[in-house]
Amino acid sequence: MPTILAIQNLRVEFPARDRRQPVKVAVKNLSLSVGAGEVFGFLGPNGAGKTTTMNVMLGFTNATSGDILLFGTSVRQPIARQRIGYLPEMTYYYKFLTAEELLRFYARLFQIPKGEAEGRIDAALKLVELDHARKRLIKTYSKGMQQRVGLAQALINNPDLLILDEPSSGLDPLGRMKVRQIIQRLKDEGKTVFFSSHEMGEVETVCDRVAILHEGELCAEGRVKDLVDRHQCNLEQVFLRVVGYQNQPL
């Protein structure tokens, strides 16, 4: 299985506001690799360093040391982003555009020919069930609809790697189910999906492998089934054990 994403000894430090304070280490020597066609869950409590890792992965933040390779190319090269789709944790898009205009704009950034772009816009909007609202301004959309526009824009270039930062965050159960169905469908199509989530049920259902990050360090990594079998409990309990959670009486 060819490696799509390789994180090599990644370390990310943020300078403290007060010089007398030590630097904040967000990620400590993280190494991971994700193969083609895998659905990889990137887990960890809030502040564990998941979003920071994704930010380095997309070139938003610079690594202090180490590197990330996407399709064998350093993330610092814009060409590395040609084959990826990204959905940020909180999605806000140009509210003065309609969904159709937004997708057309992103298709232009990927230099997709006009005729082909129209076909992809239709397909992406149908997949996220926003075909009926394609000519409405995004500012009139509900939160769930905005999240689905986010998914549609992440799919517009027919990416080989999809990076989703908490895709179900803030969605109602129906919205979560739809997101899960879309991830499942992408998995069936052989796409590689790298996503962070706090929804352990969702992760257990759709992921092949997971990594659990705690305070910037990789605490566990492996196939979901292996982790569950090894700890003799479900993924949520594995997660709680790995991050050292002790059940205190209230």
Binding site: N55, F60, N62, P88, F96, L97, Y106, R108, Q111, Q153
Partner: protein
Amino acid sequence: MNQIFAVAGIVIKELYRRKDFYVLFIVTVLICLVMGSVNIYNNPDIIRYDKAICLLLIWISSLVIAITATARQIPAEREQRTLLPLLAKPLSRTQLILGKFLGCWMACGLTLLCFYMFFGALAATREHEWPLLGYLQAISMHWAALGVVISLTLLGSLVFAAPSSNATICFVIVGGILFVGRYLDIVALSLHEPWRSGLYGIYYVIPHLEFFDMRKLIIHDWPLISWEYIGLAILYAVGYMAVFLAGACLVFRKKAVN
């Protein structure tokens, strides 16, 4: 280039879907129509005053549109987090800056076209003539000056976090250059060292936007300026645009965007 034009297209779309331009255009039109309809002291030369007021309003409106629209471009992208999905695409930060600049500059060019067409129509109702070449020179010089202002504001938007502080600083700088820039060398003569050298330094470093102000030429129907000088002035503006945009790209290159 396609990516730069795509970003520029979105900037233009945003500007024409917002109300700023329409408000300023309607205010300018109303003021000019009211001024134009009044015949003070039966003075046949009153049209010169109308033209002066109209051109002053056009300059003020264009500067307001250019600075306010440019100042919010990058900060709004950061604040609304639209920058994240944008930079996750195969779009370099330099392309983003150039796209933003091009979009703002093109939008201001379209705005200027509307303003000058109205001005031409207003002047023609009284003078019954269309000095098109004079207007062409004025609009091209005005547009070049706006290019310098837009690139300066774009650089400011990456240095100062709040769009309002950047816009205020840019208004002060541009207003200062337009009103006192041309006198700095004269003032420097009356100073002692090291203030004299300091002021001379500022005089030679700042972009002299007053070179591009051709209002008097139009108001008094002076003969056209040689096209060579217009070309040189535009080159001078392009030089400043390049310097400010290079600065913006350098500042933005290493900046964390999350």
